[in-house]
């Protein structure tokens, strides 16, 4: 709704002086202390910083899963930080792919069904097309041979890769991944990272990765270091 100052075609996601407090009463903590950030299309960003500095908290806000206590967030040039729940939900379905730090799969469903789930909600593809796309995505993250395994029958790293495939299901403009390679060996980390970079370059998706892995961070287009709730 808000008129956009920056060229909308270049910036996929923007936030300015975002504040977030967590906890109640005595335990109330000022976690994010005015974070500003911009993500351009086709770029891969690394967010690094010590444990507990607020990386996940920021990612939830950028992913419209949580409400900030101050500041603004734009998605595709639209101010979303104060929109209605319905608008934010729609934006999550269409524009944002989220990978949780603790790889969250729907345990009663197979890998394939997990990946198809966002597509089913969006309802843009036929059943067959959804199935095919889910197969492609799972193959790309090296899970092509385990499409019919239930979430409970997969290892941590496997679940994580299915979760990454799922975040890409609706080809979102913005991919937010909270330590997507945390549970992966070097080879699979490489496969997943290369795939995400390839998507960014080919489709112009903006990828933001929180990582503790200096090697991965080093291969990103930009690295933002966070400490104590602010970017350095």
């Amino acid at each position: 709704m808000e008129p956009v100052t920056d060229p909308p075609d270049k910036i996929a996601l923007r936030c300015s002086s975002v504040h977030r407090y967590l906890g109640e009463g005595e335990g109330r903590v000022h976690v994010l202390k005015g974070v500003s950030f911009e993500a351009h299309r086709g770029q891969v960003y690394a967010v690094v910083g010590p444990s507990g500095c607020g990386k996940s908290t920021l990612l939830y806000l950028l992913g419209l899963l949580d409400r900030q206590d101050g500041g603004d967030i734009w998605i595709n040039g639209r101010l979303m930080s104060n929109s209605s729940d319905a608008e934010r939900t729609a934006a999550r379905g269409i524009n944002i792919g989220f990978v949780f730090q603790f790889h969250f799969l729907m345990q009663e469903f197979t890998s394939l069904e997990n990946v198809m789930m966002p597509m089913r909600k969006l309802g843009r593809l036929t059943e067959a097309a959804m199935r095919e796309r889910a197969h492609e995505l799972l193959s790309a993250v090296g899970m092509g041979d385990k499409t019919h395994r239930l979430g409970t029958q997969l290892s941590g790293g496997e679940q994580q890769r299915v979760a990454i495939a799922r975040s890409l299901a609706n080809a979102p403009a913005i991919i937010l991944a909270d330590e997507p390679t945390g549970n992966l060996d070097q080879r699979n980390s490489g496969i997943v990272f290369d795939f995400l970079t390839q998507l960014a370059k080919q489709n112009g998706q903006a990828v933001i990765i929180v990582t503790h892995n200096p090697e991965i961070a080093g291969r990103c287009d930009a690295v933002r270091s966070m400490r104590d709730g602010v970017f350095l």
Binding site: S56, L65, D85, Q101, F104, F109, M117, N170
Partner: protein, 417 residues
């Protein structure tokens, strides 16, 4: 299949045992509801059929006159058989019917009237070789009376044609015949106003209504007139209708047109009908307790699933599933169990109803039956289903809405730490 229904059916299997509890309560609730409605309304309808088959849909009895005219009439007819029976504000009733023929013709002109029969009755003493009792003789024109009652099918011994053919024939109620130890073909004596006459038992009937079977003895009209010494007039006129449910309106109409009191079966048997209605409603309420438990069990199960699935709810929300989708997913779970339970409940209800309809039980007094009486009506199933749907879905709304209100951010932080 919609994505929400797909997710709901998968979540359901995660809590099979808890869901089985709600399911069995729904089955019991729906099944027993159907059975109790089938039996209570079965007996109620049988009672109504018995009323219509004995005393008819409408009874025309006393002439109505307003007070002014009735005083004149009373002065003129001081030596007649008719006397002032009752007085209500501005109206009085003169017992009996002076011109039955005119009234019968007028009644036949009502479109809903199926049959009309004039009846004359009076007290008599019946004497068998065994003992004597005081009963009431009912004079009827048998063919007319068969059209306004089920007398024909109430005959349990002998033949109605014997009665029609022989002036000295009589129809005795079963209880009366038993007490006097009379059977078909036996002769007995009726005494009225100092005169005795001999009659023969043509047939024995049983209505099941104690007040009828014990005291009513049917005679041919001409015989009754001479025995009771009432050459003209009638005690009442019995009317049968094509549509029994229109009796109150028709009765009202008859009162207005004929200036005679007309009592519909609903009015005459109000007390009993209300007893049956109360019974039907109270069993429905009692049996609804099962449905209530089904609702509570569903509430409990869904609340448990919501608590267990907060993580999944947050994932779904992160993928673009709306609050509405989330509550739908939980309502679908209730709906699936409800559908399964309801259909099974229908089957249970139908099977038990059928079994009960063959269950022996002997009832006499207000009607006669030797087995349980059930009535088959789609509305019992509809009402049972409606009760279950209301109880279960209302109970599911609360957990479903709680699930929809969960904030994904809070859930993720809560489980991630």
């Amino acid at each position: 299949m919609s994505p929400n229904l797909r997710i709901a059916s998968r979540f359901l299997t995660a809590k099979k045992r808890a869901m089985l509890m709600s399911l069995s309560c729904i089955v019991l609730g729906v099944g027993l509801f159907v059975v109790t409605q089938a039996t209570t309304s079965g007996f109620e309808q049988f009672f109504i059929r018995t009323i219509l088959g004995t005393n008819g849909a409408i009874r025309i009895e006393d002439r109505i006159q307003d007070t002014m005219r009735s005083m004149q009439a009373g002065g003129q007819n001081s030596n007649s058989n008719f006397y002032i029976a009752l007085r209500t504000e501005g109206k009085k009733y003169i017992e009996g019917i002076e011109e039955p023929k005119l009234l019968v013709d007028a009644l036949r002109r009502f479109e809903n009237v199926a049959g009309v029969s004039e009846v004359l009755h009076g007290p008599v003493i019946i004497r068998s070789s065994f003992k004597s009792e005081s009963v009431r003789a009912y004079g009827i024109n048998v063919d007319d009376h068969l059209r306004v009652s089920d007398l024909g099918s109430q005959i349990i011994q002998g033949h109605i044609s014997d009665f029609r053919d022989k002036p000295s024939g009589a129809l005795l109620g079963k209880e009366m015949a038993d007490r006097l130890q009379l059977t078909v073909g036996d002769s007995f004596i009726l005494e009225s106003q100092g005169e005795s006459r001999r009659y023969r038992v043509s047939a024995i009937y049983e209505t099941g209504v104690a007040d009828i079977d014990r005291v009513r003895i049917y005679l041919n009209m001409s015989e009754a007139r001479s025995l009771l010494k009432k050459p003209t007039g009638a005690s009442f006129i019995q009317v049968s209708l094509f549509d029994k449910d229109r009796a109150p309106q028709d009765a009202q109409h008859m009162v207005a047109v004929l200036q005679y009191s007309a009592a519909s079966w609903q009015e005459r048997e109000k007390t009993w009908l209300e007893v049956f209605r109360a019974l039907r409603i109270s069993t429905a309420i009692t049996v609804s307790v099962f449905t209530l438990i089904a609702g509570l069990a569903m509430f409990n199960t869904l609340a448990m699933i919501v608590m267990e699935k907060t993580k999944e709810i947050a994932i779904l929300r992160s993928m673009g599933y709306t609050r509405g989708d989330i509550s739908q997913i939980f309502l679908w779970q209730a709906a699936i169990v409800l559908m399964l339970g309801t259909v099974t409940g229908w089957v249970l209800g139908a099977v038990v109803t059928y079994a009960i309809s063959n269950f022996p039980i002997r009832i006499r007094g207000i009607f006669a039956t030797d087995t349980f009486i059930v009535s088959w009506s789609i509305w019992h199933y509809v009402a049972a289903t409606a009760t279950a749907v209301i109880m279960v879905m209302a109970a599911s709304l609360i957990p479903a809405r709680r699930a929809a209100r969960l904030e994904p951010g809070d859930v993720i932080r809560g489980t991630a730490q």
